[in-house]
């Protein structure tokens, strides 16, 4: 038994009206015989059956519109048994096969700069890119510049920054804004502790002496590795204060304070530092610093810091009392390593000592957490081999 369907006669033919049957139930039909006429957009067209047989059942009355593929009649082959009457009614119209959904045409995505666009600044694309590279704040620049901003305006703004009065320069303003908000909103508590760095430094020197200069590890990398290990054990210090509650961060993305050559300080994040070995930390740090100075930072590195480490040791400052960058909840300050008289086990000696300080947000954590962190930091620095 086979179904005789409304044929598709053209690519753009969806349906047709069955005008007239040329055969009736019980008629014998041969291959290619015209069995009906249908009305299409192009006029009446005869339709034919494709195999020999007996018309078992007419399923559509004349003058009915049918989609392509709709069963119009049942054709029984010659040696098949005719159907009993009650079975005939069971054949209901079949739905045409669903339209094959169009494979989505791949669209090559256009790179859109992330910064907000509420106030349209008239600036050339190249100037916008240069401003991002040199860390020039466009809001400040656009209020001052008349007409369109070009590369030249951005470059002059960047060079002036070195000499411009502090408030003038875009970056200074951005930092000033964050600091003032931080002071008013965040109730800071401060803790400090002295850490004997001699064992760690000697261990490091031994390590470096056996290595080529290309694999040399600097103390800063060791310190940052220790802070990250310690923070992993005290996760409350690694996260954000938002809508009145602490949200701890999965990843440890320490913002590293890096001085720009023409003045100004940025704290780009060393993303996922918790997954880095000591060697990887050193490489990532060196890369981050050179990219920061070349102005090639990624958006995520400027926005996803979960804690900040200020390592101003290079400039000889003993103790660093930092201000937390909102919405973070902690800041670790590492002072300059200096030789200091050290009393231990009733013996007096000279050791290389570093002052480590912690600034904490009292809403998120309390002094005890901070003390626990500093103690953990000290332990890690006494067993540097564990930091590898």
């Amino acid at each position: 038994m086979s179904k005789f369907l409304m044929p598709s006669l053209g690519a753009d033919m969806e349906s047709a009206v069955l005008m007239e049957w040329m055969v009736k139930e019980g008629d014998h039909v041969t291959k290619g015989q015209v069995v009906a006429e249908v009305e299409t957009s192009k006029g009446v067209i005869e339709i034919e059956v494709f195999e020999e047989g007996i018309v078992e059942k007419i399923m559509v009355d004349p003058e009915t519109e049918c989609d392509v593929g709709t069963p119009l009649a049942m054709i029984r082959s010659i040696n098949e048994e005719p159907l009993k009457d009650e079975k005939k009614s069971v054949f209901k119209t079949v739905q045409p096969s669903p339209e094959a959904e169009l494979e989505q045409e791949p669209v090559d995505e256009i790179e859109v700069p992330e910064e907000n666009l509420q106030k349209r600044i008239k600036i050339s694309p190249a100037a916008r890119k240069k401003a991002r590279e040199l860390g020039v704040d466009l809001d400040a620049l656009s209020s001052k510049a008349k007409g369109t901003i070009h590369i030249s305006e951005v470059e002059t703004a960047a060079t002036l920054k070195g000499k411009a009065p502090v408030a003038e320069d875009g970056m200074r303003q951005a930092i000033a804004k964050a600091m003032s908000r931080s002071n008013t909103e965040i109730p800071h508590y401060y803790l400090s502790s002295s850490i004997n760095m001699s064992p760690a430094l000697e261990w490091l020197e031994q390590l470096n002496s056996k290595r080529s200069i290309k694999d040399r590890i600097l103390p800063a990398a060791l310190l940052i590795r220790a802070v990250v290990q310690a923070v992993e054990e005290i996760p409350e210090l690694n996260g954000f204060w938002k809508d009145g509650s602490l949200h701890m961060s999965e990843a440890v993305n320490p913002g590293i304070a890096i001085a720009l050559r023409k003045g100004g300080l940025i704290t780009p994040a060393l993303l996922n530092a918790q997954e880095m070995s000591l060697d990887k930390t050193m490489q990532a740090l060196s890369d981050l610093i050179s990219r920061t100075r070349a102005g090639k930072l990624r958006g995520s590195e400027l926005t996803q810091q979960s804690i900040t480490i200020t390592n101003l040791g290079d400039l000889g400052v003993e103790r660093v009392y930092g201000v937390i960058y909102p919405p973070q909840v902690a800041l670790v300050g590492l002072g300059h390593i200096i030789e200091t008289p050290w009393a231990e086990n009733d013996a007096l000696s000279v050791q290389k000592v570093m002052q480590a300080t912690l600034a904490g947000d009292h809403r998120a954590t309390d002094g005890r957490t901070g003390a626990l962190f500093l103690d953990k930091l000290n332990q890690f620095l006494q067993r540097p081999e564990e930091l590898l």
Partner: protein, 327 residues
């Protein structure tokens, strides 16, 4: 190394050498034989190679272009000369529906190794029907390659390269170039099809152009240099494929770009190039892109009007100056 060979002479030498080397190469077109070619490119060739290989055709652009395609499909390496791009409109169906599509439609079975040469461009007071510059149209069609030799060396090199190409290559020779003179080294290894060439390096602004407008752009660059504007002038040499890499590389240096194109702006090759720059070098642009094209008019007969319509060195200078002042 011949110092001042003419562009026309370079073409003739290239045809002559190709026909001597390969019996499958022959030249077919209106008045290419006894008359010696409408622009005298094939002067003397029929005496040497005979009428069977330098074939004068009736004025049947569609048939003799289609015949060129058929002969190429059947093992020959024909050069069809359509007198000017203006008459090529009668053969556009053969070029687009047969030459450009045969390989693809046949599933890779039949190539069309055919070269079609045509003169192009205005500037000779030949009025509207004889002054078109439509190479940009043809560069829209996948399956074709479109070359625009501006120098004597390219006139010689490009024909050789085109004849070796397994696919149809169209060569547009601006009719004002035939009399120009220049150095020709027939031993030099030719720059491949699809490579642009920097004719003058500069750091302030990139000028992209092709064909006759290369000469106008170089003249403009001299004037600009006197005003302290250092223009980089690039000869595209090929409109399909376009040398995106060289274009973007130059813009990354100068951050300013303009195009000189004798086509009408709407739907022109200059429009296509600007779109590609927008897609590939948007963040290198310090000013909007500029262009100097033919005014959107059928070309007038009167000289002062025609000169006002088509690109001129002083228009190129004005546009470059404007872009410099902008930034």
């Amino acid at each position: 190394m011949a110092e001042n060979t003419t562009y026309r002479e370079a073409l003739r030498q290239a045809i002559h050498k190709a026909m001597q080397k390969d019996e499958r190469v022959f030249l077919m077109g209106e008045d290419v034989g006894r008359y010696g070619g409408c622009f005298a490119v094939s002067m003397g060739l029929q005496e040497e190679f005979g009428p069977e290989r330098i074939i004068d055709t009736p004025l049947s652009e569609s048939a003799f272009t289609g015949a060129g395609i058929g002969a190429a499909m059947n093992g020959m390496r024909p050069i069809v000369e359509i007198m000017t791009v203006n008459f090529s409109l009668l053969a556009l169906d053969q070029i687009m529906n047969n030459a450009a599509t045969m390989l693809y439609m046949s599933g890779g079975q039949f190539n069309v190794p055919l070269v079609i040469r045509m003169a192009t461009g205005g500037g000779k007071q030949l009025a509207a029907q004889h002054s078109h510059s439509l190479e940009g149209w043809y560069s829209h069609i996948p399956g074709l390659k479109v070359l625009t030799p501006a120098t004597v060396q390219d006139a010689y090199d490009m024909l050789g390269l085109a004849l070796k190409d397994p696919d149809p290559v169209l060569i547009f020779e601006n009719s004002l170039l035939y009399n120009t003179k220049g150095a020709l080294d027939t031993k030099a290894s030719p720059l491949p099809i699809g490579k642009a060439l920097v004719h003058r390096t500069g750091k302030d602004i990139t000028i992209l152009t092709y064909g006759i407008n290369l000469l106008k752009a170089l003249e403009a660059a001299k004037t600009l240099a006197e005003e302290g504007i250092d223009a980089e002038v690039i000869d595209l040499r090929s409109l399909r494929p376009l040398d995106d890499e060289s274009i973007m590389e130059s813009i990354k240096k100068t951050h300013r770009v303009m195009i000189v194109d004798e086509g009408w702006k709407s739907g022109s090759i200059s429009a296509e190039i600007m779109a590609r720059i927008n897609e590939q070098a948007f963040y290198e642009l310090d000013t909007p892109m500029g262009r100097v094209c033919t005014a959107e008019v059928p070309l007038p007969y009167a000289k002062h009007l025609e000169d006002a319509a088509i690109p001129q060195p002083k228009k190129i200078v004005a546009m470059a100056r404007r872009l410099m002042e902008e930034s």
